[in-house]
């Protein structure tokens, strides 16, 4: 196939992936609202299709331009959305019962892909001289993976905050369904918890007027707040070293290309800010008085830094990274 045809195919696959993600988000959101498991299965299947199209888009783009597809912000977006959805699907593969939360992961991926296609789109082309380096592969791939994983961690933190609020609002600590719900580890306790859950379910109208209907419905589908907090931490702990490495690789490249490893260019500054915020999150989670909600809010600030770093810095602030497609 000619480079032209491949590039066109890539563009079409991006649209297909975005459409599939949107449909998957709808199905998974409907699962959250209705609890129908077939919606979850269908949503996951559509998300897998979307991921395949997304990966195909990145691959055909790479073949069309004859290099790694990470030369500008549009190409960055295409790979980042694939990493986000792949991260979510990896979670679903381990715990099928969490697919109802898929909309919270697939929608950000749609946003990343959509903004990439509509705002940041760059025609396929060769790299400008400053980007012609082996470090492009190392630095940009690490940045894509690191930032996507940190984005996932922040989403877990947001979900944790929601679950935590609902759990605190619910008067009786009724066991959440997904987490198994038992407060004890022995099989008898599990049995008792399941029985208790059934009782609570049956007697809901009569005995639990203090819990709002709206609040009660998604609560049971959210994993326990503690589980989400743990997931957020582990995801951040996975993404943080990758992000650290991405910054270091960028510094090495900057040393080779510009003769200084660090120059407080806006992109460097905001990568540093993002790093500091997630470092603060990891520390806060081990600090009395900050653990839990305080730490989670820092992770939310990390999400803000992420969005600013990727969208505002490249489009509004003038810097050495501004060549990346705009």
């Amino acid at each position: 196939m000619s480079a032209h045809a491949l590039a066109d195919l890539s563009d079409q696959l991006v649209v297909l992936a975005a459409a599939a993600y949107l449909l998957a988000a709808l199905l998974l959101g409907a699962e959250l609202a209705s609890r129908a498991p077939w919606l979850g299965r269908a949503g996951v299947a559509v998300a897998v299709t979307g991921l395949a199209a997304n990966a195909g888009a990145a691959l055909t783009r790479a073949l069309a331009v004859g290099r790694v597809p990470w030369g500008n912000m549009y190409e960055f977006s295409v790979t980042a959305s694939a990493v986000i959805v792949a991260g979510f699907l990896a979670w679903v593969a381990r715990r099928r019962d969490v697919s109802a939360l898929g909309a919270f992961f697939v929608l950000p991926a749609v946003a990343v892909l959509g903004i990439g296609r509509l705002v940041l789109y760059a025609r396929p082309g060769p790299l400008m001289p400053a980007l012609q380096s082996g470090w492009l592969r190392v630095h940009v791939l690490a940045a894509i993976v690191g930032s996507s994983v940190l984005l996932l961690a922040s989403i877990f933190s947001v979900l944790y905050l929601v679950a935590d609020r609902l759990e605190r609002r619910g008067a009786a600590p009724r066991p959440p369904l997904i987490a198994g719900g038992a407060r004890t580890a022995d099989p008898a306790g599990v049995q008792a918890a399941i029985a208790g859950y059934a009782t609570a379910e049956a007697g809901e109208d009569a005995e639990a007027p203090d819990v709002g209907e709206v609040a009660a419905a998604p609560r049971r589908r959210l994993p326990a707040a503690a589980t989400l907090d743990e997931l957020a931490y582990r995801t951040a702990a996975f993404g943080f070293p990758i992000w650290t490495f991405a910054i270091m690789a960028g510094a090495i490249w900057a040393q080779a290309a510009w003769g200084r490893y660090w120059g407080w260019d806006p992109k460097e500054t905001w990568s540093f800010i993002t790093w500091v915020v997630y470092a603060a999150y990891l520390h806060a989670r081990a600090t009395a008085g900050w653990r839990g909600r305080g730490a989670a809010w820092i992770a939310v600030a990390g999400l803000g830094a992420w969005v600013f770093n990727f969208y505002v810095v490249n489009t509004v602030l003038v810097g050495l990274h501004s060549y990346s497609g705009l």
Partner: protein, 562 residues
């Protein structure tokens, strides 16, 4: 705590404890992030001085105040340094006791288990054949095989611990930032950075006078290594659509010791000479212009460096001829690939292609007072006391000559290119690189290594030995349940004990009573247990208070963990 010393001393101690607490570090981290935000929102003098001037011109009221506060040089300001130095001081103050605690932990054998091992959440008991001594020796072998550090506390009793790398990594991670700062200060303090432009065929010595821009650290001795650079050739290549494909300078460098290097320096391929790195930064055009006075005297003969606009590849510059009467100034515009396609309306459209395929120099003469004594950009004329001479500009192609107003001639002999090189010496780079490596090296175990303690107690029992096993996870309890079950299974298999469900009820009581054999899929149980564990343990946590029976003796206060 009993009062030691006066109340003032107590206050001091409390302040010290507060300073090295994680809370202080967190607040300082957040301050550091906030200060950096400030530095990214306002233009910064070291990065873009012209934008700072623009901002100051636009805000005459608040501008100077912010300038005094260092808002336009946040990362070089005293208060920014104060934040990170304070943060580092707090970290070091915290590291010293942590290091001591780790040393103590490593010096002593793993502490003995509690009075009743069945009180631990992960506990198991079973019957095994043989003597307690044999059971303990076997368990020791299994634990050592899983890289536990094992100590015997009396016959048949073992304590094992692993995961020391976590704390070691954490200390290494934090301490490496001190090294990073040392490298940074070393590089900035003793180094220099400058830009030099060299025209093709010219040679430039590494002397301060030859730099267009030069900044040096506070402790820079001023001794530039005496090498010389010659630009043999500059090449820039373009793709069909006109985007730059690459550019580079073919340099001949003669070092202080007379050693000659010939290398093509491109954007991502610098050259090193006498400890100075030479980077390709930019390029421009330098038309070779000869100006002759009416008398026939040659007033100027050489390449004139022009300022290239990378957006349209049009270069601009100026020439001053103060010796002519009246004084003559030439406003120069240079096109690399001038095309003038006809437009439907009858006019011409001006197109400039980036390739050097149809170079044209346009010189517009001005006469009057050049105000040459005033400092001004070499690329622009101060036309406040000049008037245009002649009705139209002089258009020159290479090899052409034109008459100047008031007599004399101007000739474009050829077009040369000049290269803009960045020269920098940073002795801190190896230190910073080593620090970065150590940061990563420390970070990984500090996040992923998990501390575990396991205790074994083997006592004589009718028909053999009763073996008790208990474990405690200081991090990652979620995973430990399954991990402990595997460990217990391995010990049991090594001892030749009959297989039966390994897990004892955590609520105490019937520990050691073998549960009903078979019947439950271990996978499913592990999974359930993991999830339940998650619901129970609020975090992978650092403090164990209230979570685990308080009977584990010698349990260290977790030194900072996650």
């Amino acid at each position: 705590m009993a009062a030691r010393g006066g109340p003032a001393r107590q206050r001091l101690r409390r302040a010290w404890a507060e300073f090295r607490s994680m809370r202080t570090a967190l607040v300082l981290l957040c301050t550091l992030a906030g200060a950096s935000v400030l530095g990214s929102l306002f233009p910064q003098r070291p990065v873009s001085p012209d934008r700072v001037d623009g901002w100051l011109a636009a805000h005459p009221g608040i501008g100077p105040v912010l300038d005094r506060l260092g808002v336009f040089d946040v990362f070089g300001s005293a208060w920014f340094s104060a934040i990170y130095v304070a943060l580092l001081a707090a970290v070091i103050a915290c590291l010293v006791p942590r290091g001591r605690a780790l040393a103590r932990l490593l010096a002593a054998p793993p502490p003995r288990g509690g009075g009743r091992l069945d009180r631990y959440r992960s506990a198991v008991a079973f019957q095994a054949p043989g003597t307690p001594e044999r059971a303990a020796a076997t368990a020791r072998r299994v634990l050592a095989g899983r890289r536990f550090r094992v100590a015997a506390h009396g016959p048949g009793e073992l304590a094992a611990e692993k995961g020391y790398l976590r704390e070691l990594g954490s200390i290494l991670f934090h301490a490496s930032f001190l090294l990073l700062l040392v490298g940074l200060a070393l590089g900035k303090g003793t180094g220099f950075r400058g830009q030099m432009s060299v025209v093709e065929g010219d040679e430039a010595a590494d002397a301060r006078i030859n730099y267009d821009v030069f900044t040096a650290g506070r402790f820079f001795g001023g001794g530039l290594p005496p090498f010389t650079l010659r630009l043999d050739d500059f090449t820039s290549t373009f793709r069909a659509a006109g985007q730059p494909a690459g550019f580079g300078s073919q340099l001949t460098v003669t070092g202080a010791d007379g050693r000659v290097q010939r290398q093509r320096v491109t954007v991502n391929r610098p050259l090193t000479v006498d400890g100075v790195r030479v980077f390709q930064s930019d390029y421009g055009y330098a038309p070779w212009v000869t100006v002759t006075a009416p008398s026939g005297e040659v007033l100027s003969d050489g390449p004139v460096e022009l300022l290239r606009n990378p957006d349209n590849e049009i270069s601009t510059g100026a020439m001053r001829l103060p010796s002519l009467r009246p004084q003559l100034g030439l406003e120069l515009t240079f096109f690399t690939g001038l095309r003038t396609p006809a437009q439907p309306g009858g006019g011409f459209q001006l197109v400039n292609r980036p390739q050097l395929d149809n170079p044209v120099l346009v010189a517009w003469p001005w006469q009057g007072d050049l105000r040459a004594s005033r400092a001004a950009s070499v690329f622009t004329l101060d036309v406040s006391r000049l008037r245009r001479a002649g009705p139209r500009p002089l258009v020159l192609r290479p090899g052409q000559t034109a008459g100047l107003p008031g007599g004399g001639t101007i000739a474009l002999r050829s077009v040369r290119q000049y290269t803009v090189l960045t020269l920098a010496r940073d002795r801190g780079v190896p230190v910073v690189g080593a620090a970065a490596g150590l940061i990563l090296l420390g970070l990984l175990p500090s996040l992923y290594v998990r501390r575990r303690r396991v205790w074994v107690r083997a006592e004589p029992a009718p028909g053999g030995t009763r073996v008790e096993l208990a474990g405690l996870a200081l991090q990652g309890r979620l995973a430990f349940t399954a991990e402990f079950e595997r460990l217990a299974g391995e010990v049991r298999a090594a001892l030749g004990a009959p297989l039966s469900p390994a897990r004892a009820p955590a609520a105490g009581g019937g520990a050691g009573e073998p549960g009903p054999a078979g019947g439950d899929g271990p996978g499913g149980r592990e999974r359930d247990a993991g999830l339940l564990e998650a619901a129970r343990a609020p975090s992978s946590g650092t403090t164990l208070a209230g979570d685990e029976p308080a009977r584990a003796p010698g349990r260290p206060a977790d030194p900072g963990g996650d």
